[in-house]
């Protein structure tokens, strides 16, 4: 092993790779633009859909209430609901999205309320359909107000205080810091994207630097130079690692910027509508997520280098590496699932452990015991993968597939 030769190979591979469009796309373009583009597309599409649904005046059918003109009139007076004539196939019309909801009332609804009884109201809806949901929200608000008004009237008639029906008042207040609130939502998302991108950023350079050399016939050229195979593989490995870390760093930077801009937009939205979510991830958390990604990037770089070297052709390498994406995505997805919590056992599961600890870090929780354990175990896996890659580069049957 010769440090000078490793540097010479690394610099050459870096220059060579930066001139390759496919490497530049996977290493620079994708991590920079993927997150903002996804956010913009999802944001624009959902804003349009929600906006359209909010602006729409939902058509609602009243079923029953034949002898209850007062409730029917009150419903008809609602400004943001359109009452359409009743029909027997109202359920089908909801499914066909011709109307958004139907209110089923007893025919003597007015009489039941007048004599102080309890009337049943059923709202038929299309669950999960956003316009139907908005229609139902409006109907529920109407009936809530109607109920409160009726209760107040009944209490007044009996000369009882209005607090009789309201003995306790429940209030919810968030006491968790904003980054923890956003961490619950974003915590799983950030490492998920960063881990996937640090893998995809490694794929093309790993293939190009190994099986690519076989296909182009440059492997024999470099092997007849006096550089040792260990120095050669380490120079190549450093280049692949650079690609992986650059992809991860750019992905983190791009996500940070996207969330910062998103946070401002959401802040504005909250001021108007009272809705919203705080996007707050500290620079310290970003730094530690990156630190946790480093051994994983080493693992990916060494493993992909070894697997690609084993292949005879680019096509064969792709067929080996494509299933690997699923192997990496699966634990990353598991970490997003609610209820999956970090423990000592899971700290030894590569990828999943990094994903889980990053999720905690993003939400502002630093379990140093797990951070050290996961960093250490990931380093061991990374070293094993690198050792395997170095060993494979010594094997003639792999280099030449004799």
């Amino acid at each position: 092993m010769n440090l000078r030769n490793i540097t010479v190979v690394y610099r050459k591979e870096l220059r060579d790779s930066l001139r390759d469009r496919r490497t530049v796309v996977s290493m620079i373009v994708v991590p920079i633009f993927l997150m903002p583009v996804l956010t913009i597309i999802v944001g624009v599409v959902s804003a349009r859909l929600i906006g359209r649904a909010m602006l729409e005046t939902p058509s609602v059918m009243i079923i029953g209430a034949e002898n209850s003109p007062q409730i029917v009139a009150a419903l008809r007076d609602l400004p943001d609901i359109k009452i359409v004539p009743a029909a027997g196939d109202y359920a089908q019309q909801i499914v066909d999205k011709k109307i958004r909801a139907a209110v089923e009332l007893p025919s003597d609804f007015d009489a039941i309320i007048s004599r102080g009884g309890t009337a049943s109201v059923r709202i038929d809806m299309y669950e999960g359909e956003i316009s139907s949901g908005f229609g139902v929200d409006k109907l529920q608000k109407f009936f809530r107000d109607f109920r409160d008004h009726t209760v107040r009237e009944r209490l007044e008639a009996r000369r009882l205080p209005p607090t009789l029906s309201d003995p306790i008042h429940v209030e919810e207040k968030n006491v968790a810091p904003p980054e923890k609130v956003s961490g619950v939502v974003l915590g799983g998302l950030v490492p998920y994207f960063v881990i996937i991108l640090s893998l995809t950023g490694t794929m093309y350079p790993a293939m190009d630097l190994t099986v690519g050399e076989k296909e182009r016939g440059t492997i024999e050229t470099i092997l007849c130079s006096p550089i040792s195979r260990t120095s050669l593989v380490l120079g190549k490995f450093l280049m692949v690692l650079t690609a992986s870390l650059a992809t991860a760093a750019l992905a983190i930077a791009s996500m940070g910027l996207t969330f910062a801009i998103g946070s401002r937009m959401v802040g504005g939205m909250r001021a108007v509508s009272g809705m919203g979510l705080e996007f707050n991830v500290s620079p310290r958390a970003v730094f530690w997520v990156f630190v946790m990604i480093v051994p994983l990037a080493v693992l990916f770089s060494a493993a992909l280098l070894a697997i690609s070297l084993f292949a005879k052709s680019f096509k064969e390498a792709q067929s080996y590496l494509s299933p690997l994406t699923i192997v990496v995505i699966a634990p990353a997805i598991v970490s997003i699932l609610p209820g999956v919590e970090l423990n000592t056992g899971l700290s030894f599961v590569p990828i999943l452990s990094t994903s889980l600890v990053s999720k905690e870090i993003v939400s502002g929780t630093f379990h140093w015991y797990y951070v050290a354990l996961i960093f250490g175990s990931s380093c061991v896996y990374a070293a094993a993968a690198l050792w395997m890659a170095v060993r494979l580069f010594q094997r003639e049957d792999v280099l030449f597939r004799i």
């Binding site: 010479v8 060579d16 001139r19 182009r216 016939g217 440059t218 024999e220 007849c224 006096p226 003639e396």
Partner: protein, 243 residues
């Protein structure tokens, strides 16, 4: 110089079992000499030369290249030779200058020496006009000249050529043949493999005929003609390999 001592290579093949590609190869080549390994496709020429270039490790025997044992000092042996074959391609995304300088650096030359030597070689091989162009944009002939510059950048005492003219047009092949002659003139030890009889006749001081991994006959062209009673090398070759 090069001395091969019972050099052998056995491959393990799942279908064919143990395959002996080179079997007890012995020959030597002195400085200022061209030694030609003559053989049909699959005779073991490429494997033999790859072992001399330390790209493959021998399974039996050994060889000395410029005084270095290929088993014990493979990196020193590689540092003393230039290896050229049609399989030794160039890095397409590097310019001709970057390509040659990259190899100069790997041979341990400092930046100033690499630049000086590369520019001198470019002048001599008429590469200067396209030295800043990427190798992927060069014609076959231009690529051959850059490959030659790559093998010479560290001024090695030993040159190994594995079927260097295979697949080349007449003009490109002629450049290679002239280059081999120049190497001999400059006192380098040259070993090259071919299955083109006319090339061997033109260039070689000594010829070894290899078949099924074994060296069946060896000598100067004159000695081989006397031994087999034929002037035509092709006839001699056929008689030796028993075709």
């Amino acid at each position: 110089m090069i001395v091969a001592e019972s050099l052998g290579k056995e491959f393990r093949n799942k279908k064919r079992g143990a395959v002996r590609a080179v079997d007890g190869l012995c020959f030597s080549c002195d400085p200022g000499q061209v030694y030609g390994l003559l053989g049909a496709n699959g005779a073991g020429k490429t494997t033999a030369l790859r072992m001399l270039a330390t790209i493959l490790a021998p399974t039996s025997g050994t060889a000395r290249v410029a005084g270095f044992d290929i088993r014990k000092q493979p990196e020193r042996a590689r540092g003393s030779l230039g290896f050229l074959s049609t399989a030794t391609a160039l890095y397409g995304r590097l310019t001709a200058l970057e390509m040659v300088e990259y190899f100069g650096s790997l041979y341990g030359l400092d930046a100033a020496s690499v630049r000086k030597r590369t520019l001198a070689l470019f002048e001599r091989l008429q590469i200067s006009a396209f030295g800043d162009r990427r190798c992927e944009d060069l014609s076959t002939g231009m690529k051959q000249r850059v490959s030659i510059a790559r093998t010479l950048v560290h001024d090695p005492p030993v040159m190994i050529f594995d079927e260097p003219t295979s697949g080349l047009d007449v003009i490109s092949a002629r450049t290679i043949v002239e280059f081999i002659r120049e190497c001999r003139k400059n006192g380098k030890t040259v070993v090259f493999s071919t299955h083109v009889m006319s090339e061997a006749e033109k260039l070689c001081d000594r010829i070894g005929i290899i078949h099924n991994g074994k060296l069946l006959a060896e000598g100067s062209l004159k000695e081989l003609r006397g031994r087999y009673g034929h002037d035509d090398l092709e006839e001699i070759f056929i008689r030796v390999v028993g075709g």
